[in-house]
Symmetry: C2
Subunit: 316 residues, 2 copies
Amino acid sequence: MSIHQLFSQYENYRKSQLFFGNPETLYAPMNYIMDLGGKRARPLLVLSSCISAGGEINSALPLAQAIEVFHNFTLLHDDIMDNAPLRRGKPTVHEKWDMPTAILAGDNMLVAAYEFLMNYSGPEKERIFSIFNKTGREVCEGQQMDMDFSQKDHVTEAEYLKMIELKTAVLLGCAAFMGATAGGSDEETAKLYYDLAIHVGLSFQLNDDWLDAFGNPEKTGKQPGGDIAEGKKTWLYIAAKNKELPIDEWFKNQNVEERISITLEALKAHALDAELKQLAASYEEKANQDIKLLKARNQNTAILEELIDMLAGREH
Amino acid sequence: MSIHQLFSQYENYRKSQLFFGNPETLYAPMNYIMDLGGKRARPLLVLSSCISAGGEINSALPLAQAIEVFHNFTLLHDDIMDNAPLRRGKPTVHEKWDMPTAILAGDNMLVAAYEFLMNYSGPEKERIFSIFNKTGREVCEGQQMDMDFSQKDHVTEAEYLKMIELKTAVLLGCAAFMGATAGGSDEETAKLYYDLAIHVGLSFQLNDDWLDAFGNPEKTGKQPGGDIAEGKKTWLYIAAKNKELPIDEWFKNQNVEERISITLEALKAHALDAELKQLAASYEEKANQDIKLLKARNQNTAILEELIDMLAGREH
């Protein structure tokens, strides 16, 4: 089984589980956002963890769908909070319909995520429900931390790392834990899958921060420094503040191109680009250690490694 | 055990279960809305159904809390959608904090409702989860129908009744069903509790529509005709339209007091006040039949009847 085949299997299942009900004005936005596409990283992580743990994917499909529906619920509500006009190049739900419909469609997707969870008939249901609830709470906490940061003068690196862990990494952890549990792992082994996904998630997020600032535009497809131009509190901003560099002064330049180039040059002059790259690499190294621990427990991690490499944009 | 004692027991439990976590900006609004008060009709319905069915209330307390947290989640999000400034005389969450915080606190309350559900350790967990999910979906559908009505030229009476059933009655039905199940009822008997609560909910809502238009201001504490002044599509508006009465013409009067008095007189002249009263009474009659059916199954309905009378404002 390759990741490509797994993707097809998930997509076939997903298309067999479209939302359906009345009024149609509630259900159409739910299908709309689910159909916008994406790499389906989270459901693929559920399914590949299940296979790694020695299971068959059928019992894990409702879990994969619960995670993907939950993820899309967060996208829907985050887009309202961020006032975002576009999602994957298409109008966001609150733009295409309206804000009340977007709130309600999101709410109904959260309920639907629990309905998919309820369809799971594999082992350790209690454990599955419990991690899903905990994760749901943590993702809300992460989003609130992110919003709070925009109002705060000072954010520590530890707070930033905690925020990205809660906002993005724990859902990957939950996906891997649930998949491994469905595949037959005991709790201790499933926890190793969880840790692996957390470390992978953190390294991805930090690499994204790096790519946004210093990436090759020919490869990333966007101009460098987008986050900086928007004044986002990424790792780079926080690290600069914590080194008492005058980043707020650099940001005052009214010319956007100059603002970006001055800021990026200054960050490089203080080696923050290298420091960020190193931090991301340290989580990648932790993920490699997790893989070793899983192999030592006779877990068949090949497809999971293939997925991680694919998501990291590495050739296999 | 009296309703008054049951209320105290629920409140003690509720206060022992305050939300707690970081960031505090996420958890404070959740406790704020839960603390605004209210009759606690839904948790009391869970607990009194449990007693009626012959159970002890301890196992039903987490269910009562799940329902109350879910209900407050819907209030929180509905207030955003309705742009409401006040809830029980206090600023709404999106006014006191802001809209993104209100969305997120609501989302986290929905997750928290499921966490309370998970704490239930009584009989028939699957059945409890399944009705809760179904109800969550239906409440979203009811809210969407309500929003859609404001854009629609024509709404039938059946559509209006379906909307109030989904928006308000099914959560009462769910509360009664879960309480009875926790108390030991089989599915068929629990379904009778469900029907009873649906009928009670519909009669309450229709009585509220009547009271808003024709109630004695000395008893209701508000000027009659508030819904009409706001142009809301209540049963009276829909019935007038369906009788081809020129209610939109009456509504055009720029003087609010005249608009209300002209409309109310015309509705009375066409006996729509009596028709609404009769419709509400027909659901009350159905509820009485449900009580008889429950008694025929040896259910001890005394405390449930006391609760319904109290909620209806009837002396016992």
